[in-house]
Each structure stands twice: as C-alpha cells, then as structure tokens.
C-alpha cells in the first residue's frame, strides 16, 4: 500500500523520522507476565526503575491496544497456543521482547514441559538474558528496541528477513507442540 512503495526524499524523510520518534516514545506493553520475570517487569514499571520516563507505564490489558509484548517467564506447552493467539490479536506495528532465559531459549528447564525458546512461536525482536533479568537489563532491552525502531524502516518485516534461524516446516512435530497457523513465516535458516 501507499507507504511501502514510497522511496524517501527530503520531504517524506523527515516525516519518517517523526513517525519513528512517535512510535518509539510511547510503546505500550501488553501484560504477558508469566513467572518470576513478571515480578521484575512489574518492578521495572514501579517507582525505583521507572518505565514511565520511556512512555511505557501503561500496561494495556487488551492486546489490541498494545504495541509491545514482553514475554516474561517460561512458556509451557499448554501456554504456547495462548501466546500465539495474543500475539495475533495485536495490531501492526508490534514488537516482542523475550525477557529472561526461559523465554529466550528455555533456560534451565530443558525438558518436556517448556517450549525451548519463545521464538519457536512468535518472532522476537530483542532477547534479554538473565534469570531473572534485573530491571536495568530489561530497560536496556527496551532501549535497544527503541534503537531498532529508530534505525529501522517504517515498513515492518520484509520477506527475506531472518528470524530465529529455525525452519519450522522442517521441524518434526513433538508431542504436544502446537504449530503456528499456516502461512506465517517465522524466519529462514541462514
């Protein structure tokens, strides 16, 4: 549609900067706190490590009103379809921060019950390591996301962009593993 075909000149260039500034200055997170990392996320939103200075203190209950999903905590097999459903309900542009090692790679729980990395279910923009990450680490991850928004293009994911590096079509189905809906590209192997 209109904006994607536009090649930016000096008139539209500054408009692009304006839109990106607006987008990164008021990223509204959706509440998706699952486990221990959720407590640190709440602590990051509280008074000592204030998220309001980044425009992010409103944690929207409804995913339709949110821009950012911070997956805070371990994602179990039962929760993975719910995670995907909430992600699908969010409106573009949307970003995902995978907070903590359990969300990034499965963490210390390398077993039958935990999805080994939330990037098997949703595309992730920033990974924040830690068990649980300090609120300062989470804020660093948020600022990294802001940089990504600032340096990125207005249009979102282009077809060639790589995601987690896992080709989901080739992945054999494990018991209880829920495949995302067909037609969704979550990244191609390098």
């Amino acid at each position: 549609m209109g904006l994607e075909d536009l090649s930016h000149n000096f008139l539209t260039g500054s408009l692009e900067e304006l839109v990106k500034w607006a987008r990164r200055s008021s990223v509204w997170p959706a509440t998706f706190g699952l486990a221990c990392c959720a407590i640190e996320m709440m602590a990051a939103g509280a008074a000592d490590f204030d998220l309001a200075r980044f425009g992010m203190e409103v944690f929207r209950g409804s995913p339709r009103q949110a821009d950012l999903m911070v997956v805070a905590g371990r994602v179990s097999q039962k929760m993975a379809p719910v995670l995907r459903q909430v992600y699908d309900q969010m409106v573009e542009p949307k970003w995902v921060i995978s907070m903590g090692v359990c969300a990034s790679t499965g963490g210390m729980f390398n077993n039958y019950a935990i999805v080994q990395g939330v990037d098997q279910v949703v595309p992730v923009d920033v990974y924040a390591p830690g068990c649980p990450p300090n609120p300062q680490t989470l804020i660093h991850a948020i600022l990294t996301l802001h940089e990504k928004i600032r340096l990125g293009e207005l249009t979102r994911r282009s077809p060639g962009e790589t995601g987690a590096g896992i080709d989901l079509a080739a992945e054999p189905a494990r018991p209880g593993w829920v495949a995302p809906p067909s037609g969704v590209r979550l990244g191609t192997p390098r």
């Binding site: 699952l34 486990a35 221990c36 944690f59 995913p63 019950a113």
Partner: protein
C-alpha cells in the same frame, strides 16, 4: 421435620436425606455444587449442548489465562447468572515446568536452584524446605548461626512477599498508588538480598548444610533500617486502605469461608487463620529456632477477604518483630555445617590443601550421596504449609522430590469462595487467596 418426612423419592429411587441442621458445611458445599465440572480443553459450541435454554439461562465465561487481574496464568471458567457467579472451575497447568522431573536430574547441591523458582515471591522458603528435607535424610546438625541466618532471611522474605501481595491486591482493587508504594518497600529488602546472596530474586542461598555465604559486614545496620521503616509505612497503608469506605465495602463480607470447610479443603496459611483457626506451623510445630523468638499468631474472626488482608498486614508487623530479635540474638560461629562431604571448603583453602580441592571438585560436580529413606518436611511459607516429600535412593540425586505447594491446595477453596458473588468480588477473592502459579503448576 423428621427423617421420615425428609425421605424423598428421586429418579434414583428412595434417597434418605439428612436433616438440614445435621448436614455439615463440607457436605453442603459438595451438595450445593460450587465446583463446575466441565471439560477444559476445546471451546464448547453452544449448539452441541443438548439443554433447553429457559428464561433464566446461565452464561459460561472464561477468565484468563492472560488477564491483568489474575495473579499469574490462572484460568477460571465461571458460570454466570447475570453478574453473579454460580459455579466456577480454576484451570491450571499453564506454567507447568516439570520441576519435579528436573529435580530428579539435578544433584542435591543443584536442587536449590530448581526449587527456588517454584514460589517465586518467596524463593528462600522453597530452598529452606528442600534443604531441611535433605538434612533430615542426611542426619547432619546445622550450626546455630546458620539456623538464625536462615530464620532472618526467610522472615525478610515473608515481609517482602506480603508487601508485594498488598501492592498487587491494592492494584486489583483499583488503588494504583498501593502498587508503587509496595514495590518501593520491596526494593529495600531486595537490595539487602542482593548484597547478601548476590541476586534480587531466586537466590540459591539456602542449601543443604547451611547457607551459601555469611552475612556481609554492616548487615545489622541494613536490616535495622528495614525494620524501622517498614512498620511506619505499613501504618500508612493501613490508613490508605483499611479506613477507606470503598475498600471496606469491596472486601467486608466477600468470600467468606468457614473453618470446617477450610480444614476439609486442606487450606492453610492466611486463609485458614482468617477463618478463625489458630494454625501456624512456626508456633504449632516449630522448625529452625522459632520456639526461641516471641511473636503472635494473627487470627481472623469472620473469614472474609478483609480478614485475610488484615491477617497478612499484621503478619508483616510480626515478622518485623522476629527480624529484630534475630538481629539481637544472632549467634557467632559457622554459617554452614563443617561436614567435608556435604559443604564445600572455603575458597582460600583450595590453594593450600589438595584434599580441599578434591572435596570442592567432588561436591560441585558430583554432589554428595544421601542414604536411602523418605521424609516429609513442612514449613510455614507466606501462602501456607509448604511441604517437601523427598525420597532418596542412596545416589547423589533425589529419587523423587515432591513439593506440596500451598497455593495448589488453596485453589481448591476458590469455587466455594466465589459462589454467590459478583465478578468484581471474584477479583477481590482471587487476589486475597494469593495464588502464585509457579508453585501451583511446578
């Protein structure tokens, strides 16, 4: 009415009904049917249900698992008539991590890292119950300083957990400032934890054999500054919430549970104490050094949401009392048992002694072996009775490690508590039951 007159003919034949006065609350709860028994998995198509819809039809809605008001990933299926909740069913398992299976793969030294992430609001309590169970099987004695350090840390953890509960409870009942205040106080305690254990949360501090490290220099000042500020702040929150008419209207008389029903449902902790039963494991079956400190057990009278709030708030004050006594009476000595097979040597010794190096290596790679046996140890966590059933088979890993999570059992009392209330009351009740889904699902 006599029992003869009460005998009614039902579709299953003659059925003898008990006199209403004789029917206890437990039988009544089961007969009344507050538990909603319907399959949890797929969404029901109303066209599939073969029921005639009448004038007063009830609606089945789903609350969660992603919802700002539930404490973690708890899903509740509720049958509503208008806005009144009739039957409900809490559905759990959205955070199942296989921790009990993982516990069978990790050694006893590593076990505390796994167990600590169950109840993530009071991680030191999980570590404590696991360590106490392992030590009971090992049969080793813990030095007194180690016992008092454990008591100090777990009571501070109780304060931080209850303050966190007040914060989230306040926010659920629409007092956002309570959330900010609660986290402010929690940060004080967490920075002391970071100084002592190295981590703000999920510290791997209490291990079988003692604690991982001694208290840092100047800890008395840090702890006294905590216990001098927090009671004053709790008085402020008391004024903010207890005196407020809206808070009182939302919590008084809401979600009442009787002591018999609470006991039958195996509810422990603030739920049981608020209903009038003075059961606190620290007083009834003391562990660590709780028989040497002076504190009161807070008991409620009505068993409603307000009582549970009052019990937790006053428990913060009692814990501050206990922490003060810990600072006064802290004995000197070793912070861990001097058993070379169980606790690693101090780091400086590794450079001097070959034996120390070998012990250090063996303990951290292979762990220690625990003689065969089984034991059940229970402590009082902020949510109730936290128990650990440990089966050892003589190897360096537990054969079976089962943690009795208090929230897992307390959730069973949720359907009777929700029955007859409005959805807004449901939020208040769930918040007052204080489930932590990490220990519910493990």
């Amino acid at each position: 009415m006599t029992s003869e007159e009460l005998k009614a003919e039902t579709s299953e034949g003659l059925q003898e009904l008990q006199e209403r006065d004789e029917t206890g609350p437990v039988a009544l709860a089961i007969e009344e049917g507050s538990q909603f028994r319907l399959p949890e998995g797929p969404v029901l198509n109303p066209g599939d249900i073969d029921v005639e819809f009448g004038e007063d039809e009830t609606m089945i809605i789903n609350m969660g698992p992603q919802h700002p008001s539930t404490h973690g990933v708890l899903r509740i299926m509720m049958e509503l008539e208008g806005e009144t909740v009739l039957r409900s069913k809490p559905i759990i398992g959205y955070l199942h991590t296989g921790m009990e299976k993982t516990g069978e793969e990790l050694t006893y030294v590593q076990g505390a890292t796994n167990v600590t992430r169950m109840d993530y609001l009071s991680p030191l309590h999980n570590e404590l119950v696991f360590s106490l169970a392992a030590e009971a099987l090992l049969g080793i004695e813990i030095p007194p300083r180690s016992t008092w350090i454990r008591m100090l840390m777990t009571e501070l953890n109780r304060i931080s957990s209850h303050v966190m509960w007040m914060a989230t409870n306040g926010m659920d009942l629409a007092s956002t400032s309570m959330m900010i205040y609660g986290f402010r106080d929690r940060e004080m305690i967490l920075s002391f934890f970071e100084k002592t254990t190295g981590l703000r949360m999920n510290h791997d501090y209490i291990r079988p054999g003692g604690v991982a490290a001694d208290l840092p220099d100047g800890w008395e000042d840090d702890v006294m500054s905590i216990v001098e500020t927090i009671p004053g702040r709790v008085d402020e929150y008391d004024e903010l919430l207890t005196g407020q008419p809206i808070f009182k209207r939302r919590t008084e008389g809401v979600g009442i549970i009787s002591p018999e029903l609470a006991t039958a449902m195996s509810a422990t902790g603030p739920i049981l104490r608020a209903s009038g039963v003075a059961w606190d494991l620290r007083r009834a079956m003391p562990y660590l050094a709780y028989d040497e400190v002076d504190f009161d057990v807070i008991v409620g009278s009505v068993g409603d949401t307000f009582d549970r709030y009052a019990v937790r708030m006053n428990e913060i004050r009692e814990s501050c009392k206990i922490v003060r006594q810990c600072v006064e009476k802290m004995p000197l000595g070793d912070y861990r048992a001097q058993d070379k097979k169980v606790t690693p040597p101090p780091r400086a010794r590794i450079d001097e002694s070959m034996e120390a190096l070998i012990h250090h290596f063996k303990i951290f790679t292979r762990g220690f072996e625990v003689p065969p046996g089984e034991v059940y140890t229970a402590i009082e966590s902020p949510r109730g009775e936290l128990g650990c059933y440990l089966v050892a088979d003589g190897s360096n890993k537990p054969y079976r490690m089962h943690i009795r999570g208090p929230s897992f059992v307390n959730l069973q009392s949720l359907p009777p508590l929700l029955r007859g209330g409005l959805i807004a009351d449901a939020i208040a009740v769930i918040s007052s039951v204080d489930p932590v889904m990490g220990e519910v699902d493990r």
